[in-house]
Symmetry: D2
Subunit: 405 residues, 4 copies
């Protein structure tokens, strides 16, 4: 048995290519998913650079060292500033809660590093504006900054975008998106950081709503013009956490604390080109585990999608004879579909985590080619402005609230 | 061959029972559907009275006589006042556009007749109020007045109501309903009466939105508290009609006229008990033919339904162990399901028109027993108030608009 | 209230047209379904003749008079020979168990009457041969004889036939059909006539298998060449009936009797043109209520159908680019679809019973025009031969058994 | 940038644990999928040993070195005997066509190595018997041999097994499985090794049929008793390959060669406990990409599954009241579901390749604990016997053919 790999970080494929060191901050749910992306991307895609999992950062030294070992990172750090400072870190991948995004991202850009930042970009529009400006300045220096709206990388949704952009739907009339989960239905679920406004910024709105706002803007190809919103917190007090919590699972104690974020947000919107939109984000839809569902209706066709069946895209071609038309279920596993040719034969579906592999691939391509990354921090800011307008409308009796350009 | 039936109206079953004469105004799409209901109800259900199709009324004498012959009505009238006056008409069934509902219904109630009135109850809240008041007065005289929200009679939706009322969903959190059709996607579809505010009152809102508002209130068991709305007319000019139009099919000429109703309405709402709701009614959802879809999420379960699959109800029981729970597809064709035992064995589904048979059955039961009919004119008025609030909110920058009690 | 209709049978539409008297034998499940067809057909379709429900026949005088009254038949008879002899009966509709089909049909044809006979055509090939020969002789005298494979009249299946015949599927490779029900899963369900070989001829095979064999031959457009089969009776003893049974519901007592028919039949087959087929008919598929499911795969496309969603046909066009192809759900409610233009607007689905309205329409058209009816008694005989070959193969160690031409 | 990882094989997690060297033979479709499994398993599951990707073997030296680099193997070999002989190879993973399975596996077992062998176990029953015997002897020496029926590791199917074994379905009555693909519908698809009997052993039967036979035996919990079969080769000549082919994609030239395997196999079967089964394996089902579908009906419930929606299991509980029962869609992404707790939160689905991660995990567990691996070579032999009986029955006029115990 050769043992030379000891302590070595996973090296994702293609010896001989220029290495690009990644440093990741945070290693919970998102960190694990990103790690899988970094480990796998070079084994599947033919990349211009070779990503190396250089170091991962967390506050608890023992825990972060264990995470590094398990997830395949060569080193562990307990101070994100030290992580950014490392020579073997070319790209900083931010997987922390939203309250620390701005500080870390600004420092990393300042240090000349590329940045991948989890969504939502920030907890406030002001932070997001600063980040977008910093990213724009950094871009002049050859740095790339991307925000982690990973669902753009579901092949079915990338295909949807291709079809809309290619005119298959004609003029868009309706856009409706829901993102339904149910992990807060149980009133005894404890008060984790995701339910605290100071950490998470908002609740279902920023967590789930951010995804569907980004997807709507991505698919339609223009920003939302204005919104009218209702938000609600159904369960206003929950057990305070005792001990550690990780991601979406946690145990609460007997003392109660106040939930300071929304449980659900329902809003309508207009797009500049005339389409009407409706959005719903909630953690209270019993039985819906990850139901990011969308439908777009145009003058020449319609598309529908459900993240719980992520290998499928439903398409109706309205230019066909009525007698043989209908919504068809495209199994998005063909070589001609986005990202798919690198994977398996037709019908051998992908899963959730593949979005992170694809995200890594697109980011590395952008770094190598100098292309503008998508979604950029500007795109993240655009989403942030919609979220802020939703909160403003909800606070002002649902009045239709324009989004600043 | 015996020929004694000549000119006789169809007699729906059960010789020897007390006959109840029906007179119907209008014989287009709705008239044909109601006729099927009246002809069939006594052949399938064991009724306390025997409905007789006495007379049908329309303005064109030749056309209405042909309709009477085809649809099974014993006589034809060209003046609805004459129809109401007939001795063999005990019940007046109003299947005309909304602008004539109030006048006919008030006259029929005044004449001591029972009334079934198609939805929406009226074109304005004022008319609806007058009708509801008249119905209340008539009720003291033993008359029954019902509004034709026939979808309450889909067995799956009646079952849904039974399950919500029985507590299977716990506390309701979310209600979302869409009613999507696509017959206006084609910009050359002509300007029929349904696109004229003076005849139809409103567009998708009153036609489709009325159904989903009524269903939401029926299923939740309480009236909507307030709404925030957007409406839109995507195609503002359409070919003027040349010659006759019937129902949903028509041909237009080369001259254009202005569409004076909404093509689509999107609105959010709150229920008094705290549930958030969203509604969408449109005739511009390419590929969706009759997609009245709804989902209700509660603390102990969820329900989902799609009118395009009307024999199915989807139910998630959130009190079950997570490892074996999920949305189940109840095929609503069991003897224990509402209305079903009168029909066929399990799995032998019903269709759209059966809602009118069930409606006739419930109305005749109410007449025979003196029970308050559901949905009453008061229920129709309640829907009308929501529709008016939707229009008001849409006109006032989507501001949240309370519904008067 | 006019009372002149008393005792009159329902007259299905179109006064002034030539009347055609129908006499029906049997009034249980099938009789009720046929009655709905006869009552409705002239109200919906523009027919060349006017069907009149002249008389219904059953052995129990009181019960048949009550059925006549409820179902809309003008008279009741207790002897089917008397029914056939009536002057006001031009068409004899046989809705009895299979053991009496041959005798009644032969007598009716002999008497110069048209005949509609429920499926399966007979209990033996010999009977079916005699019936087909008699029908052929009667055809020379202008009489029409049809067998009641009503599922050919589901619009989606008529559309499927149109698409296969029009070459949309190319060369056929695979045909697979199942007909799954579950009403015998409960071992305490009693020994009704459907479980007795002397009455029913066979079990799931003749009841359900007959339908899918006929559909396969109809859709493929040629007879089955040979079969290899397994049959099974899972529950060999059941409670003997106490008191009356009607159709699919009954109550058993404490004494047990022997089930003499198959509970399930599974068989494979070849078509002359080279397609492979598989069939499964069972009453033991827990949770499947009426799952007549089929899929056909050809070199240029595929079709799929499920009777539990009878308004839908699933179609894959294999000549389309792979990137946007997939099984599309055609909602078979468009005016261009078979039978549909007589009914409701798109999306307003039909139910099980409409197949009997369509069957009545096609039969009356055949009578009026002299066209060869489909499915003819010869088609019924063809199915009978396949069923016999299935039983023969099952008895001979599943050996592949050719069907005589 | 540290570069010490150069040439190092990927080390799948958990530094400090006992390393276990893997050597893989073959690196096409299956080799790539297995590599993903070996690279990932230690990053996700907490394992008793640490798998190291020591060496990969292929005949073309340049190609195998490129594959090693891309897929993460530390070394490349061109002779499988050399691979087996390596000190750093503890486990031999055989991903070649079926004609070389026996020779490699026997040599590896002889050399004291653990073995994972792709399915089908061999091309003949004789080879499979020798392999099963060798595996049994090796087991006495502490070696583990597993056959790669990876679909047992789809969480939904592992859950299905758990439910059947736990009695949730009661006595089993029906088992039906299809495995439908369509990559041979195009008659110009060339004559790859998968279409040659000398390489592949059989066609759809061994490739797809092997999977569904194994799954049926796994889920039912007993071996098939006997079969009756039809097989067919629809397209008997195809273009000969020009140049290299890899896996399922290839280009043919203008000369034709003879297809020597089946395109499709359809067979019925009995299980010892009395259940009837039907199987269909085909590469000619246009539009079906990977439709491994199954349904099992028992006296107390039913299960259904479709590999194209691999995160879902459909379950009907027949012990529930009929009014609220129906097939429920279990999203198999809950922590209580097999394999799932190591991955993502509920609703974040897995893909095809995860079956190989799970397979690696189960194999490593068996190696560490000494438990009998499942599926064993004996299980592979059992499948092989069914495949042989299918071919025998098809050659003997479909006669029911018993499987030797």
């Amino acid at each position: 048995m050769r043992e030379t790999e000891t302590e070595a970080g996973a090296d994702s494929g293609s010896t001989g290519k220029r290495p690009l060191g990644v440093g990741m901050v945070g290693y919970a749910f998102m960190g694990a998913a990103h790690s899988q992306g970094w480990r796998t991307v070079g084994r599947v895609f033919d990349l211009p650079v070779r990503p190396v999992l250089s170091a991962v950062c967390g506050r608890d030294g023992g825990a972060v060292r264990a995470a590094a070992d398990r997830l395949g990172w060569a080193a562990a750090e307990t101070d994100w500033r030290a992580l950014i400072a490392r020579d073997d870190v070319d790209l900083v991948d931010i997987c922390t809660p939203g309250d620390s995004h701005a500080e870390i991202a600004l420092a990393a850009l300042e240090a000349g590093k590329h940045v991948l930042c989890e969504k939502p970009l920030a907890n406030t529009v002001e932070e997001a504006e600063a980040m977008a400006e910093a990213a724009e300045r950094a871009r002049a220096r050859g740095q790339v900054a991307m925000v982690g709206f990973n669902y753009r990388r579901v092949p079915a949704l990338a295909l949807a975008r291709r079809m809309v952009a290619g005119g298959r739907l004609g003029a868009l009339r309706h856009v409706r998106l829901t993102y339904l989960q149910d992990w807060l239905v149980d009133a005894s679920f404890p008060l984790t950081w995701r339910l605290r406004k100071d950490r998470a910024g908002s609740g279902a709105l920023g967590d789930l709503g951010a995804h569907i706002v980004d997807l709507a803007q991505y698919l339609v190809g223009e920003p939302v013009a204005g919104v009218s919103a209702l938000t609600e917190t159904f369960v206003r007090e929950r057990p305070l956490l005792e001990g550690a919590s990780s991601g979406l699972t946690a145990e609460g104690g007997s003392r109660l604390g106040t939930v300071t974020v929304d449980d659900a947000a329902v809003f309508t919107a207009r797009f500049p080109s005339g389409a009407l939109a409706s959005f719903e984000a909630t953690r209270f839809a019993a039985g819906r585990k990850n139901a990011l569902r969308l439908e777009i209706n145009g003058s020449e066709g319609s598309l529908a999608f459900d993240l719980e069946r992520l290998n499928e895209l439903s398409f109706h071609d309205h230019t066909e004879p009525a007698a043989s038309s209908g919504f068809r279920r495209i199994l998005v596993t063909e070589p001609d579909h986005p990202y798919v040719d690198a994977w398996w034969p037709p019908g051998h579906g992908l899963g959730y985590e593949h979005t992170f592999v694809h995200q890594a691939r697109d980011l590395l391509q952008a770094i190598a080619t100098g292309a503008r990354p998508e979604p950029s921090f500007a795109d993240g800011l655009s989403v942030q402005r919609v979220l802020a307008a939703v909160e403003e409308s909800a606070a002002k009796n649902s009045v239709y609230t324009l989004i600043p350009a």
